[in-house]
């Protein structure tokens, strides 16, 4: 083990200054607001807190938010790996354009995305009208929320998996083939295990983004209480009622749940990194 120096010697000085600024900004921008939410929550007594978190409306929104987010992140893992594969493994005209399009959900204002998604998937919209005769409604249902969350989460998976695929040694796949492994076996036993850490990171990022997503979802969701109402919207309602402690309580639950899930994913990642190591 290398000895960890608090202050590594460097040809570029300024450790004290940069480290001080880093701590200062992290404090005021991240740490203080997070603590503030918990402090606000503690203004409620236990009974009031319990009433909020056991309420049917809150419970439904909690399940909807985390459920659709997890599902959307899972779908994104599949699509994202596929897109990353196509972008890294094949060269075709327009590959750079396609590569740039992947970032669109990052760049597009979420409200714009929400409105256009709603317009397309509404029963009279371009895609919605294809499904309407089959009795499938997309907009204003959890399915619509799912589609919006898939839309905003895709770049996270693509951008985390892409560099790993890019660096993956083609000889390792060839070695697998010379040993008699079929293409499917090579993918499942050789390629995918090496992508697991990147896939987990992409999943975690897409999931956290989806849980907190507001702008693109509220248009397509329809916001029916207990059916298509997401947690962030519930927080907005409480804020509009000037009920800050209730809003903070919902936020605190969301944040705690997100923390726990991210911690779990990080633990799995640490394990896989230890196991797979670096060659």
């Amino acid at each position: 083990m290398a000895v960890t120096h608090f202050r590594a010697p460097s040809i570029i000085p300024g450790f004290g200054l940069t480290f001080g600024f880093t701590l200062f900004y992290l404090s005021i921008i991240v740490i203080v607001p997070v603590i503030g939410i918990y402090i606000h929550t503690f203004q409620l007594d236990w009974a009031a807190f319990e009433r909020i978190v056991t309420g049917a409306r809150f419970q439904a929104a909690l399940r909807l938010s985390f459920g659709t987010s997890a599902l959307a992140a899972l779908v994104n893992v599949v699509i994202g790996v596929l897109v990353a594969w196509v972008l890294t493994r094949y060269s075709f005209p327009g590959r750079r354009v396609l590569d740039a399009i992947v970032d669109l959900p990052f760049a597009l204002p979420t409200a714009v995305a929400g409105i256009s998604l709603t317009a397309i998937y509404a029963p009279t919209g371009l895609i919605g009208q294809l499904f309407a005769p089959l009795g499938i409604r997309i907009a204003y249902t959890p399915l619509g929320i799912l589609i919006a969350l898939i839309f905003i989460g895709l770049p996270f998976v693509v951008r985390t998996v892409q560099p790993v695929l890019q660096d993956f040694d083609r000889e390792v796949e060839e070695a697998s083939a010379t040993l008699g492994a079929s293409r499917l076996t090579t993918i499942v036993r050789v390629l995918l295990p090496n992508l697991v850490p990147a896939i987990l990171t992409g999943f975690a990022l897409a999931f956290s983004r989806a849980v907190g997503e507001y702008g693109s979802v509220i248009f397509i969701a329809g916001n029916l209480p207990r059916q298509t109402e997401i947690l962030p919207l519930l927080i907005v309602f409480r804020l509009e009622e000037y009920n800050y402690p209730a809003a903070a309580a919902i936020a605190a639950v969301m944040m705690t749940a997100s923390f726990v899930i991210l911690l779990l994913i990080n633990l799995i990642q640490a394990w896989s990194r230890r196991r797979f190591g670096r060659v």
Partner: protein, 357 residues
């Protein structure tokens, strides 16, 4: 397993990498493909493995035409320069991979696979490392594991692509000796690619010297060193000096001086004289010799390398003298190559040569 490569052509995007290469490899032979980078040696190896497919021509494994078989069907052991181990698997899992992915009816039991992995680790002299991960091994150890993995599937031929290229000199020498031993123990037909002539000459039964997508010469270490067939082989294998000369009426000339050598079949016109720098004798006074002005002299281990400028246009040629030879102090040296070879200039369009009789 004999290998027969018949008139193989390979083009990458219309760029020819191999022009009609033919080669027969006997069963149990250890063959080196030797050449500079870009000579097509790795392409040839990958074509044998089935990692590439030829543009035209055929490859036979024994009596079977393997040309259109996939890499999975060919059953070859391939060792890569950068090991290409599966880093998420232990050493034993790496070695057992080829057996584990077989169809169920051909697959040995888990215990058998494990036992086979341990035997192979024994063979490559890494006993007891079954449960390590590749990241915990040194480069030399990784390459041994890669070889054990290739041997596990009982391959028809063993192919190695610059197997020692990424290792340092000491480890290379050890592994070279050890590969020879493994080859003698297992008796696999083995083809390896290298750009290191010392490795090729020391290790292989026959060396295939390649240049610019074609085979220049196939032969034993003695053949390619003592009897090089082409100017390229003379220049590539071992130290050599090359001197542009002129052939006129059966003699070899520089300017208006005769070198006292017989040109044999080489037609009149420009030609190149090749000789080994260490294989020269110094002569006093010059009638039929090569004389030059000393340009520089460098001490290399037990010898002194002297550069001479020969003739009116000062063609540079190198000879080697014992370190304490008094001639090294002179400003003008005359010598005669003890053995030499004369090649007609390639631009003359005729391949002809003459050599020491």
């Amino acid at each position: 397993m004999e290998l027969s490569i018949r008139n193989i052509r390979k083009e990458f995007d219309r760029f020819p990498a191999l022009h009609g290469v033919s080669l027969d490899i006997r069963s149990g032979e250890l063959i080196a493909l030797l050449g500079p980078s870009g000579s097509g040696k790795t392409t040839l190896l990958r074509l044998i493995a089935g990692l590439e497919f030829p543009t035209s021509g055929a490859i036979f494994f024994g009596e079977d035409d393997a040309s259109q078989k996939t890499v999975q069907e060919r059953n070859v052991g391939f060792v890569f320069q950068h090991y290409a181990l599966f880093r998420h698997m232990t050493v034993a899992e790496n070695i057992g991979f080829g057996l584990k992915v077989r169809p169920r009816r051909l697959r040995p039991s888990a215990a058998q696979i494990r036992r086979r992995a341990s035997e192979l680790l024994e063979l490559v002299r890494l006993p007891g490392l079954e449960n390590r991960y590749p990241s915990q091994l040194s480069g030399g150890q990784r390459q041994r594991v890669a070889l054990a993995r290739a041997l596990a599937i009982e391959p028809k031929v063993l192919l190695l692509d610059e197997p020692f290229g990424a290792l340092d000199a000491q480890v290379r020498r050890d592994l070279r000796r050890w590969l020879r031993e493994i080859h003698e123990t297992t008796g696999h037909t083995t083809v390896f690619v290298t750009h290191d002539q010392e490795e090729a000459l020391e290790l292989a039964d026959r060396v295939v010297v390649m240049s610019q997508g074609a085979i220049e010469q196939v032969g034993s270490a003695d053949d390619v060193y003592d009897r090089p067939l082409t100017p390229f082989v003379y220049g590539f294998i071992g130290e050599s000096s090359r001197l542009p000369v002129r052939v006129d009426t059966g003699g070899v000339w520089i300017d208006d001086r005769s070198l006292g050598l017989a040109a044999g079949d080489v037609p009149d016109g420009p030609a190149h004289l090749f000789f080994r720098p260490h294989d020269v004798e110094l002569v006093e006074g010059c009638g039929g010799c090569i004389a030059g002005v000393v340009v520089s002299s460098r001490r290399v281990e037990a010898t002194r390398r002297v550069e001479l400028a020969v003739g009116g246009d000062r063609r540079i040629v190198e000879i080697e003298l014992p370190a304490d030879h008094p001639a090294a102090l002179r400003s003008r040296i005359a010598f005669r190559p003890r053995s030499w070879k004369l090649f007609a200039d390639a631009r003359a369009g005729r391949e002809a040569c003459a050599e020491t009789v």
